[in-house]
């Protein structure tokens, strides 16, 4: 919240922060990867000489070097040794996670906790002998996060920094860990800070034990202090509920949150070994989500949506990419000039540019320019159009031919329309429609500036379309969307989107895509194509809509979009099965393709007759029957 507010109130500061953090996290990100590989190496090494591992090691480490990178790897052997149970647990958890169940996970967690609690007194008692020593150490380390919670609560309210906490934990006894961890989980489950009758007893018992343990461990604490410090720094622990609450009041430093994000990702990447036994993957993910929401300034809904879409580490890349502006790209207006001439003219003005890529012959990337690129004489003369690289794609997919009749359903501000007209060499006819009259000013301006004379600009709701005009050879539908692909351009998307918005948009998109399909003449000798694109990456607005269109209009099929790159669309997503041909659609991501997040699907209309009978359409997927049923359900719901 705090970050969001900051973002809104004060522009330059968060920008700087973002920049700084972006850099840091990038660095950290690399480190992270490196870390993971290294830890794997260490792992194998550790496995080889298991026996060589002893309770001494942490101390050695402390003395040698205590860089956070090497620590976890050193830790692992002990974890491995400890028991096979947690491993299996973690496996289960992973399975559960992917299955999307949470209740089972919780049960597992409690089991672990109980065990910890049971063991705790035992361990605390037996602090002689290397074996037990090691165990003990491990426990204390694992519980550190948990244990530090109540303590910090009891002692003081300063929840500031990890370092502080570490120190506190150092001072507190390792034996108490088990008990407190229990306690902590309890409160966690209850989800209640205040004292209730239910946990009154627990609390009093806890206090008693604590007092006792404090006394008992007074001297032992002193002895093990050094070792504990070493261990603690290595193992990352999740903050407690109280801490989280406190953080809401007084947010942590961004850099610390960033560190935590990183730690969690590191743990998640190697969950079996780096996890705290009593914390489930779910807990980690929850914390990660919270931290990322705060750090990147997303609302929870959008964060959930995006995390569903990517693996965690890729999600971070995605978020990082959203913080960085995409390079300015321009499209040469081939009606007035050639790319070579334009590039030369701009270079003469001191502009630093390069072709966008091999996939387009008209695009140029502007790296830096001493003059405003949107106000050069060339721009005014209509030699180029400032246009995001991603918005080339739907037009390339559409591939309009000369003297065709093309419809652009939501055309403003005209980048795609003018590209279409340029590809058609000003022949035929382009109908540029947009529902927003204000935005159409820019559209008309661009159309005229680029010297396009075959365009009719009109102002309709796209859904009216087959009624107003039909029989187009090609239709381009760049649907209005949530804009999750262009967060780098419009950061307000991070916070102002909710499920309702998405629902509303998808509904509109579905209506639009149907009217787009209906507007096309399937008998057109050259065309009969529809291209659907969004600048959103959410599956709801992309694959789901395309799938809906396929089911509602059996007279269309997906065809290859003609784009050589980009990730194929999902054919199944979180239990939802889509038509197999959705693999022909293309997705583009800011972190992977260095352009705005984008989705392109190209349809070919086969006949002008719509067969609406549901039986005629069977989804040729593996689980055809199931999806069919689902579809039927959805249809009836519709």
């Amino acid at each position: 919240m705090g970050r969001r507010a900051k973002n809104k109130q004060d522009v330059p500061l968060p920008l700087n922060q973002e920049k700084a953090t972006g850099k840091v996290t990038k660095g950290l990100h690399d480190k992270l990867k490196h870390d993971a590989t290294r830890s794997r190496k260490h792992d194998s090494a550790a496995l080889k000489n298991k026996s060589a591992n002893s309770g001494r090691q942490p101390i050695e480490k402390l003395s040698s070097s205590s860089s956070s990178v090497t620590k976890p790897s050193a830790k692992k052997p002990s974890a491995k040794k400890r028991a096979p149970e947690p491993d299996s647990d973690s496996d289960e958890e992973i399975d559960d996670e992917s299955g999307g169940e949470v209740s089972g996970e919780d049960a597992v967690m409690r089991d672990v906790d109980d065990g910890g609690w049971d063991n705790a007194p035992m361990e605390s008692d037996s602090d002689v002998g290397e074996e037990s020593d090691e165990m003990d150490e491990f426990d204390s380390e694992d519980d550190e996060a948990v244990s530090q919670m109540p303590l910090s609560l009891l002692e003081s309210d300063d929840d500031d920094e990890d370092d502080d906490e570490d120190e506190e934990d150092d001072s507190d006894d390792s034996m108490a860990g088990g008990v407190e961890s229990y306690d902590e989980f309890d409160t966690d489950d209850d989800e209640a800070g205040p004292v209730t009758f239910r946990d009154m007893e627990k609390r009093s018992r806890k206090l008693d034990k604590q007092r006792q343990q404090i006394e008992e461990s007074a001297d032992q604490e002193l002895r093990t202090a050094g070792a504990v410090v070493a261990g603690e720094r290595e193992l990352f622990t999740l903050p407690s509920l109280e801490q989280i609450e406190a953080e809401k009041e007084a947010p942590l430093d961004l850099s610390q949150i960033q560190l935590r994000i990183q730690e969690i990702i590191r743990v998640l990447n190697n969950f079996a070994e780096l996890r705290a036994p009593e914390a489930s993957r779910h807990d980690y993910l929850d914390q990660l989500k919270r931290d990322m929401c705060f750090y990147y300034g997303y609302n929870e809904f959008l964060m959930d949506k995006l995390l569903e879409l990517f693996p965690v580490s890729e999600a971070v890349e995605f978020f990082e990419a959203n913080e960085v502006a995409r390079p300015v790209t321009i499209r040469t207006n081939t009606l007035k000039t050639r790319r070579r001439d334009l590039a030369q003219a701009l270079i003469n003005r001191g502009v630093n540019l390069d072709p966008i890529g091999k996939w387009t012959k008209v695009g140029l990337t502007i790296f830096d320019s001493p003059v405003p690129i949107g106000a050069t004489p060339e721009y005014m003369a209509g030699h180029y159009m400032i246009q995001a690289a991603s918005s080339f794609l739907p037009v390339i997919a559409l591939a309009p031919q000369e003297s065709e009749k093309v419809l652009d359903m939501s055309a403003a501000p005209g980048g795609k329309t003018t590209y279409c007209a340029a590809l058609m060499k000003n022949t035929g006819m382009v109908v540029a429609n947009d529902a927003n009259k204000e935005r159409e000013r820019a559209l008309v301006a661009n159309v005229h500036r680029l010297g396009i004379s075959n365009t009719v600009v009109c102002n309709y709701d796209g859904r009216e379309f087959p009624k107003v005009m039909g029989g187009f050879d090609r239709v381009l539908l760049d649907a209005p969307c949530s804009g999750t692909g262009v967060i780098s351009k419009d950061a307000s998307v991070k916070v102002n989107k909710s499920q309702d918005d998405i629902d509303m948009l998808t509904h509109l998109q579905k209506e639009l895509i149907l009217s787009a399909i209906d507007s096309v003449n399937a008998d057109s000798p050259t065309g009969g194509y529809i291209v659907y694109s969004t600048c959103s990456v959410t599956v709801d607005e992309d694959e789901a809509v395309v799938n809906y269109a396929l089911s509602k209009r059996p007279n269309v099929k997906l065809v290859d979009s003609g784009l050589e790159f980009g990730a194929p669309g999902f054919t199944s997503f979180r239990g939802r099965k889509f038509h197999a041909s959705l693999a022909l659609t293309r997705r583009f991501y800011p972190h992977a393709h260095n352009m705005d997040g984008f989705f392109v699907a190209k349809f070919k209309k086969l006949s002008n007759k719509i067969k609406v009978s549901e039986d005629s359409f069977v989804v040729p997927t593996g689980s055809g029957a199931k999806t069919k049923q689902k579809k039927k359900k959805r249809k009836t719901a519709d």
Partner: protein, 180 residues
Amino acid sequence: MRPLTDDETKVLFEKLTKYIGRNIAHLIDRPDEPYCFRLQKDRVYYMSEEIMRRATPVGRRNLVALGVCFGKFTKTGKFRMHITALPYLSQYAIYKVWVKPNGEMPFLYGNHVVKAHIGRVTEDMPEHQGVVIFNMADVPLGFGVSARSTVDMRKVDPTGIAVFHQADNGEYLREEDTLF
């Protein structure tokens, strides 16, 4: 959208004549495709017959623009040329003025063309005649009205105005709200 009345056509042609003279005939009678002028709201658009024919289903309120806008009729019934007509004006212009690179930006910011910025001028340009302004690379920048004839221009001091500004490409940015 409707065809122009005779009076409107006359006003339009009188204005166009100032820039392209008898070349209007080339606009009316094209060898490639029949083209026509149509009035939508107060704007005059020039488009091919086919596009006009195909755009007929679009309602009057919903039709924003089609083809190329030549300008608009003012409330007093005069015709005002817009920069959007530049491609056709530059193609058929009778009198042309080429400005040097240092004069490009001042003109594109809406200033008159001073004598010092002029690179070349069409011979025998009379004064107060419509001229199209190009840069030295032959890219049309806008149009205006000559302040002096070619002969008189020699006598003017370098800061003297040679061509009165009427419209320039910069209006696409400056006047986007009012122009369309």
